[in-house]
Each structure stands twice: as structure tokens, then as C-alpha cells.
Amino acid sequence: MTKMALVINQERCIGCQACALSCKMSNNVPDGMMWNRVISVDTNHIDGARGTYPNVTREYLPIACQHCEDPACMKVCPTGATYKDASGRVLIDYDKCIGCRMCMAACPYNARVFNWNEPVRQVGFNYGDKDVPVRPRGVMEKCTLCHERCDRGEEPMCVVNCPMRARVYGDLDDPNSEASKAARAADAYVLLPEMGTKPQVHYVK
């Protein structure tokens, strides 16, 4: 089995949003939405601080699809549009999506975005990876772990463009991969383990 995943080191993250923007660029994500975001945990603002001065902390959390082992979104999809591929990635077959938004309600991580309108792009043309399909209005989309890039032997764009090398991409089922080693570290954790979705994306704090 293959279980492709990201391991994100929050200690290294400087909140520059490069991963969020390279994702948006590479995947032709339309205006008004993003697949990948960097949030400042427990605050209301970008680069916000938690606590009261002088006792403040800041925690950056890059968050996108967690590519769960047991994805809640896949279970509730009535048409099987959301599926897990042979590499353990959670993907969407856009042709099958009827836009019911069950998956959006089921995802504990708010990782999904919906094409409520005809997708538009400020520049007026499609951009990014040539192999990424254009999504029509009325379908769901989200992080694909850049499967078009990775299937060609490259790494996800967020990993490539992270200036702090905070993101590691690899196979969790290969005990010798960098990702697998990082995910086994004592300080590695997953988001909301109590939801039972078994995220493959791991974080290190």
C-alpha cells in the first residue's frame, strides 16, 4: 500500500503564505477561494496573536485537505465522486459531483471549497499546471496533493515553494521515507484525532 502524505513542521513555519499562494497558482483555483490556507490558531486575523499582551503566542497552522485514511467526505458522497486513489490520496471525480455538499458538511477541517458561481480568475485566463483539469460551476474541489505533478515524479507545489522547508512530502507506508520518519517523531500529531478520520497529513510542533 501507498499512503502519500505531508508532514508539516510548525516550528519552521513563518506564516509567509507561500504554500497557500503556490497552491492557488499551480491548481488554477478560482477567485474567492483557496485550497490551502495558513491560519493563526485561535485568532480572528491573519498573523493574529493568541492571548493578552504581554502573554501572547502565535501559532501558524497551514491547513488543507488532510487526506484522511478514513475520510468522512468519501463515506457521505452519494455518487462516489470523492474517492481514495491507489496512492492513498483523497480525490474528486468532478464529472460525478452533483453539488449536494454532503462532503462539505462532513469534513471536520473545512478543507473543501465549492464553485457556487461560474469560476472566474482575475487575470482572465486559466493558469497553473497544464494537467490540472478546469472545474465547472457547481462542483466541489480541494487539495489533490498536486497529484498531476506527483504522478510525473515531482513534489506538490506547496512543498517546492516553502522557503523554510517546513513541508515534507512522502509515503507514510514506506518506513524509510523522510515523511514517514517525521510522522513517527514524538512531537508529531494529527488534527482532531477524535473525529476518527485518521488524517494522513501530520504536524510537528
Binding site: V41, N44, P78, T79, D95, A105, W116, G138
Partner: protein, 396 residues
Amino acid sequence: MQLTGKTKGVCIVLALLTIVGIGCWVFQLMGGLGITGMSNVNSWGLYICMFMLFVGLSAGGLIVASSAHVFGIESFKTIAKPAVILSTVCICVAAAFILVDLGGVQRIWRLFTGPNFTSPLMWDVCIILIYLIINILDLVWMGKGADDKVRKLSYVALPVAILVHSVTAWIFGLQIARAWYTAIMAPIFVASALDSGLALLLLALMLLDKMGLVKLEDGLVASLAKLLATFIAVDAFFILCEVLTMAYPGAGEAAALSQMFSGATAPFFWFEVVGGLLVPFVILAVAKNREKRGMVALASVLVVLGVAAKRAWLLLTSFIMPNVAGGPGITTGTLSAQTGNATSMWATVGTYAPTIPEVFIAIGVISLGALAFVLLCVKLMGGDSRAAVDEAVQPA
């Protein structure tokens, strides 16, 4: 088929509202769901509230009609036909609300070519289709006077009716990511279906009585009203159980509860508790009030509105607080975000208000249902009743 002048007028108004609704729906099909108030944070709204409401409203009819046979309540048999017509129309309205809510309605055939049976929505598609078939069979057999078939069907209809509400509840109640995740969701849906469905049935019967299509005995109104009071009490009890369970540990769901008590969904919650449960129960608990049609009608209207309010708080409370919270939040994907309004691109909490076209689509769907109900009643029962012929001003 005969329609009185007044009925005709009402039908014309309903038809106009339906046309406006269809116009708005076409507008929505052209522009996308972005014309509604929904967003990536609050991803279900008025349509799904109305879907839940109308699945529930369709309960009263079929349950009363089949109880007539299953529990041998003779007096219910006289109203079985209008009850099943109401039930059929309501379930069609509910299904229509799912259709208008779909972003890719043109791909709906995918439900049948590649069904995923782990999805509660797929279960709901199946059970609603079965329920609809039972309703139609019931109507056809009643029309032919095939009493034995109707009696046998009742034994299937009653459990299926209970299941329809349970499965609809499971669409929500099985989602661990939301505050909906509770075992009592299905019982709450069944209870709400029983009280709102019976209340709507009472209102419909009183209307048909006025139109001369049904002869409604006062004794039957009183006994149905008594049953309604019982259903209200059961509904209230289930809600109390849920609220207490949410509140007591003070963790997790307490945040959602504070939204219900004093936050964004509080007006709906308190309207239901006071206006939809307490007041109608007090009205109907008094035997004298159950004799007065005006009081029964008032209580019934309140119950239906109360359950409508419940659908709103039940659905929307879960969308307010994201599980992983942090600034700038979640990208909303709305029309306004798309057209460069930077402040509406991000949201740390879920907010929702239906837009005007969204409201008109909902009114249109309901009007179409009401129109279908009136016309079906006149067509299927016009011949049964002398009064209808007597009161008809002119043939249609």
C-alpha cells in the same frame, strides 16, 4: 372538476407565485448557487431547512391514514384520502427542495449509475422513492375502493413513514464533525414530523371542510387535537434531553448551545420553545379549546411555524463555529468574494441570510405544492362530496 370563484382566485395567486419561483430558479441555474446566501462556511441554508420541514410535514397524512387500519381507528378512515394526498404533495415538495439545492442538478443521474450506499443521502433517496410509491399506491387503491389492499399497505406504510424521518435525520445526525452528531436526532425528527405533520393535516382538513370537499366532524377535530398535544409533549421532551446533554458536561457542544441560547440562532430556538411547543401545548391541553376550531387552528399554525424555526436552529447552529478556528479563517467562495471584495473572502465564523431570489424559489416550490394539493383534492374528492357540487359557482 369544479372550482368555486374563491378557490380559483387562490389558485391563480399560487400559480403566479410558482411562475415567479421558476423564474428565479432559472436565474439560479444560469448564475449558480452563488445567488443564494450560502458560502463555504455555511454550506446549507433555506432549501435544506425547507427540505427537512416538508419531509416532516408529509408524516401527518400517511401516519394518520395508516393508523386508521393498523390500530383500527375507524374515525380516521373518513379523512384517509385527503391525508394521503397531503402526504404525497409534501414529500414531492421536499424532494423538489433537494433538486433546487443541487449545484450540479444536470448530473443527478449519477445517483443511479454509481450509487454509494454508505451515504445517508443515498439512503434518503431510496426511502423517499419508496415512500412516494406507497403514497401513490395508497391513493390509487383508495380511489378504486380496494379496502383490503389499502389495509395491507398500511402495515408497510407506517414503518416506512417512521424510517423516512429517521433517515433524513441521519443525513445530519451521523456527521461527527458537527453539533448534529447525536443519537436523539432521529427521534427528534420523528417527533417533529408527527406534531408538525398532524398540525398541517388539521389545517388542511379545516380548509377542505370549508371548501365542502370533506365533512369534518367536530369530534374528530377534538381527538386529533388531543393527539397533537401528546406529540408536542414528546417533541419537547426530546429537545430537553438533547439540550441537557449538550449543556451538562460544559465542554464541546456547549459552544453550539450558547449560540442557541443567546447567539445567532437564539431567536429561532426560543420561538420554537415558547411559540411552537409551550403555547400550543397549553392551548390544546384545555379540553374546551379542543372543541373550538379557531383555537385548534391557531395551535396548529404555531406548531408548524415552531418546527420550521427548529429546522433553522438545528441546521444553522452547526455551521457557526469551525472546528479548526483561526484567522483569517475560511475562504467563503461567495459572489462578493469572487468579485474582489477582500473582506468577504474570509470568514472566521459562519453567517447566513437567504437572498431574495432564494426566498422566491422557496415560496415558488411551496406554492406549487399548495396548488397541487388543492387541485388534487378537487379532482380526486370532488365526486365524493355533494357539497362540492352544491357550492360550485361555475364549472372550471
